[in-house]
Amino acid sequence: MKTLRAVPSTVILWVLAAAYIFPTAWFLLSSFKPGFELFSLPLTLFPETWTVSGYATAWNRFDFQQYFLNTTIVAVTTTALTVFVSAMTGYAFAKYKAWWLKAFFICILATTMLPTEVIMPSSFIVVRDLGMYDTLAGIIVPSIITATGIFMFRQYFATVPDELMEAARIDGVGEFGLFLRIMLPLAKPIAVVLAIFSFQWRWNDYIWPLLILRDPDRYTLQIALRSIVGADNIDWSVLLSASVISLIPMIVLFAIFQRQIMSADINSGLKD
């Protein structure tokens, strides 16, 4: 009886799953087709001749090493700074009381309602006037604060009992030592989750790098891809493989941290 009742749910689930995986699977399989096979009818799911020539062309024609390096620098630096700044700010919100903390908390809340895209003309001018136009710093620095990260740490630190802090204070630990040596290590699970999220946001970021970067030597992967897809005649053979290459780091990250990502209690946070 139970197995019979399970049939409709299972069928719906797997039809949907198939629909979700198909675009990516088709894309991935196409990337292994030689150029002439991409458009030759009838289309086949699997390549008749498997080849990595598209990958070789993409790798040689575009400076992928440079794009990877740039994107990695941006994603790693921003993530490290985001985690640290969010931890400090979230800790202050959770464990201290003052009217100006509440006021600033509302300001941080407002940033989720008003994302940077909304004020992009003037944000661009600010970054330019700070001398960060066409530098990687120009994408790193404005992206450091995220409401999500601050919320996550605030929620977490709120669950840490005050007695722990009082005990440490009686033992003569200063406020900064308390945060650095006791609280920060306690919040490691949150730090890991936020690091993964932040890395994904920055790896896939588009609008800021588009505005700030001019020199192709400083392009991130997304901007490089955009230059291929924005061309009048799209070179699909190159575009397919280049896109797949750009996904690899995220896939690796997911494979390593799958458990943390899937069980992450992101209810307290917001998407960036």
């Binding site: 196409s30 009381k97 509302i106 941080i108 309602m113 003309p121 003037s122 001018i125 996904l247 899937m262």
Partner: protein, 312 residues
């Protein structure tokens, strides 16, 4: 998620802690100030300052370089007479109005399936539904563009080989918008689904079991128990999807660049093109300010609904 709108003064606390507070009150001011200092500076530089600057630019003819002249409400007058602006704005509203229910229903439905005790193969299925989260909006646009190419896409190939006529996914504005909607939903499911899964797991089993014993059908149990308990999560998903849809940009750039022509140019793309391609910072800032007001109004309306629900 309900926001306090008044700045409350710290409440009086118990006497012993109050004494200790007083003793360490100086370090309790200096320390939090130091902890938030970096965030305050960044917030001021990259949110407050651009916000104020944007407001000022919206009253000028600034072009990014050279002098700026104050021209009063000229930008706004021009903007409200600009058909392209209205077209972008209304297209954005249409997209948001379609995207929010689509995201909501699909991600909640998938989350229900993934937490149902009946379906099998939930673990691999969950990974499949999550994969689009790893894919950047640009690549997502590229993937679907490849799939729905009018002359080369596999979708039209299948349709024509079973005797149909391949729809014009790129050159028909309505179909192009539908395609944007599909891709947006596909990409947005993962995150919302995770939120719903976490919330569904928190629904007490005993409620559902008691209802089942009383003979409530699966639909009634969902409608009367699960859905009301998911309200806070639903609220958040709706709010985030609304804001996310209003600022959709990257994925559309790669999918069809807002085409055909400028038919599906949403508001952020409009601001981008007027501000940066036509170097009209003042005019684009005016459009930004209008968008900002719209987003604030939407957020306030939704927060109000949330608060009313809390009270009832």
């Amino acid at each position: 998620m309900s926001t306090p709108t008044t700045q409350a003064v710290p409440a009086a606390v118990g006497s012993t802690t109050a004494q200790r507070r007083r003793r360490t009150s100086r370090s309790h001011t200096v320390a939090p100030l130091a902890f938030i200092a970096v965030a305050v500076v960044l917030f001021a530089l990259f949110f407050l300052w651009p916000g104020a600057l944007g407001l000022m630019y919206s009253f000028t003819d600034y072009r990014g370089v050279g002098d700026l002249n104050f021209i009063g409400f000229e930008n706004y007058q021009e903007l409200f007479a600009d058909e392209d602006f209205y077209r972008s704005l209304s297209r954005t509203f249409v997209y948001t109005a379609l995207a929010v229910p689509a995201h909501y229903v699909v991600s909640l439905g998938i989350a229900m399936l993934l937490t149902s005790s009946l379906a099998t193969g939930k673990t691999p299925a969950r990974v499949i539904f999550f994969l689009p989260w790893l894919i950047s909006p640009i690549v997502a646009g590229v993937i679907w563009r490849w799939l729905f190419g009018e002359s080369f896409g596999v979708v039209n190939f299948v349709i024509t080989s079973i005797g149909g006529q391949g729809p014009n996914w790129q050159t028909d504005p309505t179909l192009a918008l539908i395609l944007i909607l599909i891709v947006g939903t596909w990409g947005g499911t993962a995150f919302n689904m995770l939120l719903f899964i976490a919330a569904i797991r928190n629904v007490p089993r005993s409620y559902l079991e008691a209802a089942e014993i009383d003979g409530a059908s699966a639909w009634v149990r969902f409608r009367r128990i699960t859905l009301p308990l998911l309200a806070p999560t639903s609220f958040m998903v709706i709010l985030l999807t609304t804001i996310g849809s209003m600022k959709e940009f990257a994925m559309i750039q790669a999918l069809n660049a807002g085409g055909p022509g400028t038919q599906n140019r949403l508001i952020v793309q409009y601001i981008y093109q007027t501000g940066f391609e036509r170097a009209n910072i003042g005019y684009a800032s005016a459009a930004s300010m209008v968008l900002m007001v719209i987003l604030i109004v939407i957020a306030l309306i939704q927060l109000r609904f949330d608060r009313r629900r809390d009270l009832s």
